[in-house]
């Protein structure tokens, strides 16, 4: 480069010393200024003066935080109780499942009183149970209606998303879920933008009894086509009318279009922990959240199963078969979200644009997952509702599903669990493996047996024993630790009144603030008296962009919102402005010089090659 310039300049210098003098030496006050600025700009990025004193540590406030347990007045929900004749287990979590919802899910919305129904958000025709065909005391014709709901979606009328569902403090990725058919508003109330408690991630765990006649009714309330594929659940390829029943648009039933309904009819002969998910553009639709656990319980007398488990987690009314061997049952649904995918529905309103951005521009082969959820939430919110609360000498059944697009390696502290079932099939009892890391592939299900027998293998004794993905990105929220799918097995003696573990480590309250989640709190803040590993003034990274980002100013490729370069860009702009002014002021002179230079080049081309 420099050589080329010299090739031009040398003959120029020779030919016209006065012109060169003009080019290089002419003084205009602004030129000096420009020079000063340019030097400045070169220095800025690598500015590191030799200093005797390094910048001091500064105390960084954790910002506004939410209470660790924000749920008040739910004491009655936590207790063991009987509603509509349904025995509901105790759930001493901060945010326990609504026992009325559990009762309605067990009895069917058609079999509970209006008072009970009004305590829930169920539509009256959401779960219909009737006809005890085998005369064993429980209904065998089951209709479960599912709608497709968007959470943290776009509005053309205001900045922000609706209805909101926080995965972690201030983290609101756009998602789609199957939701049990609800009634009334999508939000909690007229004044709130928060989604009503039945519209949440993950899609609910569905439970039916082996041999039941089950109609899964998909009422597509969404603006895109969807289907349901009953992954692993015994279902015929076509139903009795000859309609396809596999949920695959290319081979079985067609798309279930917006505003239409499709009934999937099954009579599962085999038990097990299975999956249901949308099979339209599966690479994006499943990742968006249209995937849930589908459990077929053993046929037992008087076996009223909890047909939907909203938000998965603790099964407060386990089936007869499970209760025969276990004290408690938990559904653990792991998922992972790539924010680039989940932002699409927040940046556009026109469904045609969303379809294009999501399925023609977004490229899953270039994707990286950013948020890792357990039952729809990431740490710290997992400790409000996804703890496995145990007592000594109990047997706990865990049903585990990984719906992320990569392996998870779930590790239980303090416990080695036995994998009893893979993908719904019981493993030969003699060959069953007891271990403490469960490597679970995408769409795979494990049934685990955790025994809280303090024998040094099954349990190491009472405590707060976390369990988490050991693919370490899984314990972060977009790279910020702690976060992700961390939860804990907590012995009741370690649980406080409001359902929060009596932790013995550092203060966890900072995690409940937006500032922490957006990288605003130094990792080792206030470690000691003089804050030796605290923040350094001026070196704090800018907070990460807000999740519910307003639409980029122009199209994303043209403008990269890069706040780190803002100052630099401003200075470059300023310089350009000054240069333009200078050029304008000196236009006659410049024109003359250019003409001369061009003329010179033309005449001397022979000499310069």
């Amino acid at each position: 480069m420099g050589e080329k310039v010299n090739l031009v300049l040398k003959p120029l210098k020779k030919a016209n010393p006065k012109l060169m003098n003009d080019l290089t030496m002419r003084r205009h006050p602004l030129r000096s200024l420009l020079c000063a600025f340019a030097v400045g700009i070169l220095i800025i990025p690598g500015y590191s003066p030799a200093q005797l004193k390094l910048p001091p540590s500064v105390a960084v406030d954790k910002g506004k935080v939410k209470p660790v347990c924000n749920v008040v007045g739910r004491k009655a929900w936590r207790e063991s109780q009987v509603i509509e004749g349904v025995q509901i287990q105790e759930s001493v979590l901060c945010d326990p499942d609504n026992p009325y919802t559990v009762a309605a899910a067990v009895k069917g919305t058609n079999n509970v009183s209006m008072t009970t129904l009004m305590e829930t958000n169920f539509a009256a025709d959401s779960v219909i149970k009737k006809n005890d065909r085998d005369g064993d005391g429980d209904p065998d014709d089951i209709i479960i209606k599912l709608e497709v709901m968007e959470i943290n979606g776009h509005s053309p009328d205001f900045v922000g998303v609706v209805p909101t569902f926080d995965v972690a403090p201030g983290i609101q990725p756009g998602m789609w879920v199957f939701a049990p058919k609800t009634r009334g508003m999508s939000t909690e109330s007229f004044v709130s933008l928060a989604a009503n408690p039945m519209i949440r991630a993950p899609s609910p765990a569905i439970r039916v009894e082996q041999g039941d006649r089950v109609w899964i009714v998909l009422e597509n309330t969404h603006y895109f086509p969807h289907t349901i594929h009953l992954h692993g659940v015994d279902h015929p390829f076509t139903d009795i009318t000859g309609e396809g029943n596999d949920g695959v648009p290319q081979t079985s039933d067609k798309y279930v279009l917006p505003g239409t309904r499709r009934v999937y009819e099954i009579r599962p002969r085999q038990t097990g922990t299975m999956v249901y998910h949308c099979h339209v553009q599966t690479h994006t639709h499943l990742a968006m959240g249209l995937v849930g656990m589908f459990v077929v319980e053993e046929n037992q007398p008087d076996n009223w199963v909890q047909s939907v488990n909203i938000g998965a987690g603790h099964v407060r009314h386990p089936s007869v078969g499970v209760l025969a061997q276990y004290d408690q049952e938990y559904d653990l649904h792991y998922h992972a979200l790539d924010k680039e995918l989940h932002n699409v529905i927040q940046n556009y309103n026109d469904p045609r644009l969303i379809a294009k951005k999501m399925n023609r521009e977004y490229d899953i082969t270039d994707s990286t997952e950013d948020y890792f959820t357990l039952n729809g939430r990431s740490f710290p919110y997992t400790i409000r509702e996804s703890l496995v609360v145990v007592e000594p000498n109990q047997n706990i059944k865990i049903r585990m599903l990984n719906s992320g697009s990569e392996m998870a390696a779930i590790h239980t502290h303090g416990h080695k669990a036995t994998i009893t079932h893979y993908d719904g099939i019981e493993h030969n009892p003699v060959a069953q493996i007891t271990r403490d890391v469960y490597d679970i592939a995408p769409a795979q299900r494990y049934d685990l047996k955790i025994s809280t027998i303090d024998d040094g293998t099954h349990s190491y004794g009472q405590g707060i024993w976390i369990f988490h993905d050991h693919m370490e990105r899984g314990i972060t929220n977009d790279g910020v630790n702690p976060g992700g799918d961390v939860s804990a097995i907590v012995y009741k003696s370690y649980l406080s009144e409001n359902g929060i573990p009596k932790t013995k480590g550092i203060d966890i309250s900072a995690y409940f603030g937006r500032k922490f989640q957006t990288r605003g709190v130094p990792v080792f803040a206030n470690l000691d008296a003089w804050n030796s590993l605290g923040g350094v003034f001026g070196l704090e990274p800018e907070p990460a962009p807000k999740q519910a980002v307003p639409k980029p100013v122009v199209t994303p490729p043209l403008v990269t919102p890069n706040s780190g370069n803002a100052f630099r860009n401003f200075i470059v702009g300023l310089l350009l402005g000054l240069a333009v002014y200078l050029l304008y002021i000196q236009r006659e002179h410049v024109a003359r010089l250019t003409n001369q230079a061009v003329a010179l080049l033309k005449t001397s081309t022979g000499g310069v090659k």
Binding site: P29, L30, S32, L33, A36, N110, M114, A123, D125, E147, M149, E150, G153, P156, D157, V159, G160, K181, R183, G184, M185, S186, T187, F190, E219, T221, Y223, L257, P258, G259, T260, R261, N349, D350, P351, R352, L353, K551, V553, V554, T555, P557, L558, V559, T560, N562, N565, F567, N569, F570, V572, G573, L574, L575, L576, G577, L578, V580, Y581, L582
Partner: protein
């Protein structure tokens, strides 16, 4: 001759009978609702009325001004005339007199739930200020409420997630009405519109690459990003406007002098900021900043759109001058 009058009559009759949309055979009529008090009616088939009021006169009404009945149809098919929507009502606007007793017959023609939800009614009569009809189609559900006695425009929508955003929205105008609702299909524009600038139909070929306007001031940085950002434009403006002033100030100075002058200016500015910011910080912390920011947030998208527009105009201008 005298019988010919029959022809137009029959024709007219036929026309009328076909112009009424055909009801599907399996249309469920929700006419056996259970009254749960306070204007809340429900049946086990998912039919629901909330805020029913046939008697209580709202403020400003001495009597019922008119008894109106409207039939509203809802479904995917009504979105056909509004590109970029998926659900819609068959009409988007209804005009009534203040104090009108309005009976709404809501016919949902889809196989899913839809709602006819009116907002902004007085809360002392209507719970949460709402009148609400809901049913899973194909079905018909009816309800009645009394419109308050002043000019106002009321939001009508379906509150199922994204149904309003994707087109199922309208407004009831009482008397002269009030402020129109935004983004009512075919009637009012969206506050935050989508950008269709880069939507040229591409068939095959390589995947879309970033579009860089030719000859514009877009300069690729070493990091591969684009320099054309808001701050650059602001800098450019400052440079252009400030150049004459700076030229006067730094006349006949050497670069070294200028740097010295600049650093002393910077020191002065920082001093000034530190002394002045203390009372400002005090003032700010006494204000409810969060609330103000929320208010400001409301204007953020229009402001960004404005910036976007100015930037595009600037690029256009630059291209033209080139």
């Amino acid at each position: 001759m005298g019988r010919f009058w029959l022809i137009p009559t029959i024709g007219c009759f036929l026309f009328l009978s076909t112009s009424v949309a055909e009801e599907p055979d399996d249309l469920v009529i929700h006419n056996n609702l259970m009254d749960h008090g306070n204007g809340h009616l429900m049946d086990m088939g998912g039919g629901m009325v909330m805020g029913q009021n046939t008697e209580v006169l709202p403020g400003g009404c001495d009597s019922i001004s008119e008894e109106r009945e409207i039939t509203v149809r809802a479904g995917h098919k009504y979105s056909e005339k509004f590109p970029g929507t998926i659900f819609a009502f068959d009409q988007q606007q209804w005009k009534v007199k203040p104090c009108a007793k309005l009976t709404v017959h809501f016919i949902n023609e889809d196989n899913i739930r839809h709602q006819f939800m009116v907002h902004g009614l007085p809360k002392y009569i209507y719970k949460a200020g709402m009148f609400h009809l809901e049913a899973t189609g194909p079905s018909k559900i009816s309800g009645t409420f009394i419109v308050p006695g002043y000019d106002q425009t009321y939001l009508v929508h379906c509150d199922i997630s994204q149904h309003m955003e994707k087109g199922m929205k309208g407004q009831i105008i009482a008397g002269k009405g009030g402020i129109s609702m935004p983004s009512v299909p075919g009637l009012t524009p969206q506050i935050i519109p989508d950008s269709y600038d880069d939507e040229t139909l591409k068939t095959g070929g390589p995947p879309p690459s970033p579009v860089i306007p030719t000859g514009s001031i877009v300069v690729a940085t070493a990091a591969g990003g684009s320099l054309l950002t808001g701050t650059l434009i602001i800098g450019l403006a400052f440079g252009l406007l400030g150049a004459p002033i700076l030229a006067r100030r730094f006349k006949n100075m050497t670069p070294a002098e200028i740097i010295q002058e600049l650093s002393s200016m910077a020191t002065k500015i920082i001093d000034w900021l530190i002394t002045k910011s203390k009372p400002l910080v005090k003032l700010l912390s006494s204000l409810n900043l969060r609330k103000i920011l929320e208010e400001l947030d409301h204007y953020k998208k229009p402001a960004l759109a404005c910036l976007d527009w100015s930037k595009k105009t600037l690029i256009k201008l630059i291209n033209r001058f080139k």
